[in-house]
Structures are given as C-alpha cells and as structure tokens.
C-alpha cells in the first residue's frame, strides 16, 4: 500500500448532551491514499459525517471533541501531523488549503449575501496570498474548471440566482480553489436531481484524476459508491463494520449489514410470487445502537443473529489484506 495521505486510527468522538456523554464514533480506522477515492457508507446517524467533521476540526463546539485516537495527515511539506492533537490554528491553516470539504446542502452552504466570486476569492487570497484582482481571476478560472457556463458573469451572481446543481459546482470550485490534497465530500449529490448527480460525480472524479488528490466520499447511496469509489468502509452505529475494495465488497459482502444494504438496492429487487418487484428493506432502525457495548450493535436487526452475538462484541477481523469485517460469523456469509 502506498503511503497514506490520511490515516485515522482508533478514532473516538464524544458529544456532551443533557443526558450525559454519547460517543457517536468509536474505534474508527480509515486510510485514504493520494489519488484514491474511499467511500464511507452508512445510514443517517451512523457517524460518518461526525468522522469527517473530526478530520476537518469542525466538530460543533463546545459539545463535540475527539476523545481518543489519532487523525494523521501527511502535509504537502511531507510532515505527518495529528489533526486531533495539533493546535487549532495549525489545523485551521490546513483547512481550505490542503484539506477541503464539500457539503450536502448546496442551497444553504453558500453565504447568501456574498457573490460566488467573493466566496471563492476569499479563500484564494487567504491561502495563496493573491491580491484581490488576481484572486477574482483565479475564482473565474475555477468556475470555468467546474464547467459553469458564462463564468465571467456568474462570478458576480449571488447564490440565490443559481440552481442547486450550479451552487454545488460553486462549492466544488471553492473547495478546489487552493489545490487541496484531500477532498472530503459529504453527501455532495444527495440533494440534487439524478441527472445533475451524475454530472457532479463525474466532475469530482475528473478533478481527482487531474490533481491526484485523495477523496473521502461520504454517502448513504451504494449506487453512488459503485460509481466513484476504489475502496469502501461501511459504518454502523459509530463503528466500521466492513471494509474492502469496492468490487470485492459488492460481490462478497462479509457483514450482514453490508449484505442487507446491497439487497435493498432497487437494482437487486426480486420478483415476488405476485410477479411484482420487491425492494428488500433492513427491518428495524439504527435507534440507540451506538449505546450497545457488550454485544454486536447490529444484532437487534440481524436476520442471522445467534446467541453469541448478543453477548460478545465482535472485533473488526482482517480477512485478506485490505479486507475486514466486524462479524463473528463472517466466514458463513
């Protein structure tokens, strides 16, 4: 394996709430190499967004904090720093410059009272130390790069004058403006129309190929994963339950949750006795599964559950190099 750009080791994030502390993320290990797209998959509340915010140093304060583990990032200068332990100001200077992020909601992620150009140029002036005019020129180049028509004009448009797809392109332009080495894309296409989704995915992939940046792609949509990812990590209740190369994992899931997710894809719907196609759903919901400590967190919803699952928390067991599953009975899958 090439040297990792990002290596998350045994990450635990805790949030203080009125009912005491909760840990939405525990024991997460994840690596992203340069030029690689790693998909972090899971349903809402599984901890995938919290993990990404921890990398960015953007956990909501003062409630959230990294309680355990390291987030090792290799900087452009070649040194490795632990983002979880580094001074906030050091992490801030990496944000936007080396590590950039795209968010789920293009409609609300841009500042409504600043033009697209101003928002991109602001980042460029800060990190690349360009003057105002040069920064605006750079902003226009970026709008061109993300294939926004009439970029020179759009530069002076406000977000409310653009469509959702256009705004997400502006977000991508903003994220890419300072040549980041790591891009975290948190559900970047979830809020968009299907046709626009495909364009945005293609755009992110093209930029990755051209710049060699690593991409941590967060999504709940396995269809998207199949299109963009090299490797996949599936999260459930704050833990990684399975990892592997995308093709292998899709063909031979080693965790019942992954298998359930794959079965619930519309493309895999099977015909029932009445001749109609049925999409299989995973019964139950995530609920308070993150609080389950002395059993398999998925056991309440698992179709293959056995007695041991309710008494023994399963470890993340290596299957082959790069492949692992958190299930006591992965061999039987």
């Amino acid at each position: 394996m090439t040297q990792a750009l990002l290596a998350i080791e045994d990450l635990e994030v805790r949030f203080g709430t009125e009912d005491g502390e909760v840990a939405p993320v525990t024991g997460v290990d994840l690596r992203v190499a340069p030029g690689e797209t790693v998909a972090l998959v899971g349903e809402s509340g599984s901890g995938k967004s919290v993990s990404s915010l921890a990398v960015m140093g953007l956990l909501p304060r003062p409630a959230g904090r990294v309680a355990k583990g390291r987030i090792l990032y290799r900087t452009k200068a070649g040194e490795t720093i632990d983002l979880a332990a580094a001074p906030p100001d050091r992490v801030r200077r990496l944000r936007g410059a080396e590590i950039a992020m795209i968010f789920q909601e293009p409609m609300t992620s841009l500042n409504p009272v600043l033009t697209a150009g101003e928002q991109i140029a602001e980042s460029v002036r800060l990190h690349l130390r360009l003057d105002r005019r040069a920064a605006l020129r750079r902003a226009q180049e970026m709008l061109d790069l993300v294939e926004i028509p009439a970029a020179a004009k759009r530069l002076h448009d406000y977000p409310h004058q653009m469509s959702g797809g256009m705004r997400q392109r502006v977000m991508i332009a903003l994220a890419m403006a300072c040549h980041p080495r790591l891009l975290i894309a948190d559900e970047p296409t979830t809020a968009l129309d299907v046709t626009i989704q495909a364009q945005i995915l293609a755009l992110i992939d093209r930029l990755r190929r051209e710049t060699g940046m690593g991409v941590l792609f967060i999504t709940h949509n396995l269809g998207v994963v199949a299109e963009v990812a090299d490797r996949v990590a599936v999260m459930y209740a704050g833990r990684i339950v399975e990892t592997g190369p995308v093709g292998d994992l899709f063909r031979h899931p080693r965790h019942p949750y992954t298998a359930g997710l794959l079965d619930s894809l519309p493309a895999r719907a099977t015909r029932g006795p009445d001749g109609r196609r049925h999409v299989r759903a995973i019964p139950g919901s995530l609920g308070r599964a993150a609080a389950i400590r002395d059993a398999c967190a998925f056991s309440p919803r698992c179709e293959r559950v056995r007695e041991e699952c309710r008494t023994t928390p399963p470890p993340l067991e290596a299957i082959t190099p790069g492949r692992a599953a958190r299930c006591l009975f992965w061999r039987e899958m």
Partner: protein, 313 residues
C-alpha cells in the same frame, strides 16, 4: 423598484390621513377647553366664548376638521393657540435637540449593543455571555428618569463635568448646546442598547448555526472573519430593523428624558401642548412624527437592499 417606492409613498399619504383623523378627534375627546385654560379662573363665560370664536373653536367639529385638513394639505399646520406662532415654526425650533438626541443615543446604543450582542452570541453560555445578558436585562429595566437623575447627580452636581439641565442660554453656540445633550444621550443610549444587544445576540445565534458559517470555517478563515463577515453580514437585517425602530421612536420625542433634563424638544413640546389643549400643536406634531416614522421605515427597507441582495421588492 421605482414602482414599489411610489406605492410606498402613496401608502404614506394614507397613513398620514388616518393619523390626522385620529389625532383630531382624539384630542377633542379629552375634556378641557384651551380658551378657558388660557383665560384662567376669573374669565366670564362671554370672554371664553369670544376667544373660542377667535380660534374657530365654536364651529361644528366636522367643519373644523375639514378646514384643518384643507390647510395641512397645503403645508399650513395653523398657529399655536398659546405660543402665537405658526405650528411649523414651533416644531422646527424644537426639532434640533430631539433630532440630535435621537442621533446620539442610537449611535451610543449601536456602538454598545452590537458588539455586546456579538460577543455574547459567540461565547454563548460562558461567563461573558452571562455578564452581558445580565447587564442588558438590567439596562432594559432601569427607568430612564431614575438613570437620568443618577447621572445628573454624579456627573453634573458632584463632578460638574456637564450642565445639569436645559439647552443653554438663548443664542448659545453649537458646542454649548451639544454639551447639554451628553447626559440625556447617555441615558437613552444605555437604555436602548439593551434591546439592541438582545436582538444582535438572537440574530447572531440564529445565523451562527447556518451551513454557510460551517463552509466559511471549512475554508480555514480565522474565527474573527467567520463571525464578522460571514455571520454578522447576514445577521444585519433584524439588527437594522431594531435600529430603525429605535430612531423612529426617539424622533417622536423621548418625553421622560426630555422632561428630566429640561430639554426644549418635541417630547416636551407635546406634553405642554396637551396640558394646555393647544390643539394645532398637538395635531401638527403628531402628524409630522407619524410621517417621519413612515419615512424611517421606508429608509430601513431601502437599507435592507444594501445588506441583503435577496431583498428585491
């Protein structure tokens, strides 16, 4: 934009008409007679009747109303019954202290309230927030006459830094007049800063949880820039609204404060006019204040366009 502006100005006329109607009839509902008040206890009923006829107060109410409307439509607000001067002159003479007082107190209130509200929102729940919120609560509930008396006692009587009351001798120069405004402006500034602090805090808290603030942080901007440019920039609309309303209220005359400091302003004028049933002055002052109120609201709406590009109508 011009169409909406014209529509707003048309609305102004309607408001002025309604205000004029209400003011006219409400002042006359109050018991008392300016002629009787003017002539005192010794006057005979004949004297009073003669004086009433001089002012036209003996004519039917609707006729008086129609005549008055006709006159104010041409900008003539009549003559003060007591001061024997045109109402417009009387108002103009009293406008300066009130205008300056409003200007200075809103400036003080904004300079104190806006930063306090921002600080309070950014460090929500911390000591700073608790201190600021506590002080704001205190300032909002301090009676302005009490605060005025305390400031007079301290800065005018004890320390002698500022004059006790009044607006300087007749013909006093501008510096001397302004000196008389320091303490009253401070009183109204402090009292009004409380409201502005609380609005700024609420508006900032609302905005700080927005996605685009997170985006600004994700760009690696220093927190000061995130707060001042990205959060405060969008939190401005409600803040501008409160500032505008405060100006409008103060233009109407800060009656209590003007009375405590003996300032010859609009508020003081209206109070004495009411006590003397000086109908033309009461009517003229209220119509003008209502007009200014509407104009200030219009100005606030125009400022919205500057601070928020999404506002178009």
């Amino acid at each position: 934009m011009w169409i909406s502006l014209a529509r707003r100005l048309g609305g102004l006329l309607v408001v002025l008409f309604l205000v004029a109607t209400m003011v006219f009839f409400l002042t006359r509902l109050a018991p008392g007679d300016p002629a009787a008040i003017m002539l005192g206890d010794q006057a005979t009923p004949e004297d009073v009747a003669r004086l009433r006829a001089t002012f036209g107060l003996d004519r039917p109410l609707l006729v008086q109303f129609a005549l008055w409307l006709k006159e104010i439509a041409t900008g003539n607000f009549g003559r003060s019954i007591f001061l024997q001067q045109p109402v417009t002159t009387v108002l103009w003479d009293r406008a300066e202290p009130t205008f300056f007082l409003a200007l200075f107190s809103v400036t003080i209130a904004a300079l104190v309230g806006v930063p306090a509200g921002i600080v309070s929102a950014v460090w929500r729940g911390r000591i700073v927030d608790q201190v600021v919120s506590g002080l704001a609560l205190l300032a909002a509930n301090v009676p302005s006459f009490w605060l005025g008396l305390i400031l007079i006692q301290l800065f005018a009587v004890r320390l002698g830094w500022f004059p006790v009351a009044g607006y300087g001798a007749p013909g006093a120069g501008l510096p001397e007049r302004l000196e008389h405004l320091v303490l009253p402006s401070l009183v109204l500034g402090i009292v009004n800063s409380a409201l502005i602090t609380r609005f700024t805090r609420a508006s900032m808290l609302d905005v700080l949880s927005n996605d685009y603030v997170r985006t600004a942080r994700s760009k690696g901007l220093p927190e000061s820039r995130v707060v001042l440019r990205h959060a405060f920039g969008t939190a401005l609309v409600p803040i501008v609204t409160v500032l505008g309303l405060t100006v409008a209220l103060l233009i109407g005359g800060a009656i209590v404060t003007e009375t405590v400091f003996g300032l010859p302003g609009i508020g003081n004028l209206v109070v004495s006019a009411v006590l003397r049933r000086d109908y033309p002055v009461i009517q003229g002052a209220l119509v003008m204040v209502a007009g200014l109120y509407v104009l200030i609201n219009l100005a606030v709406d125009l400022i919205y366009r500057l601070v928020d590009p999404r506002v178009t109508a």
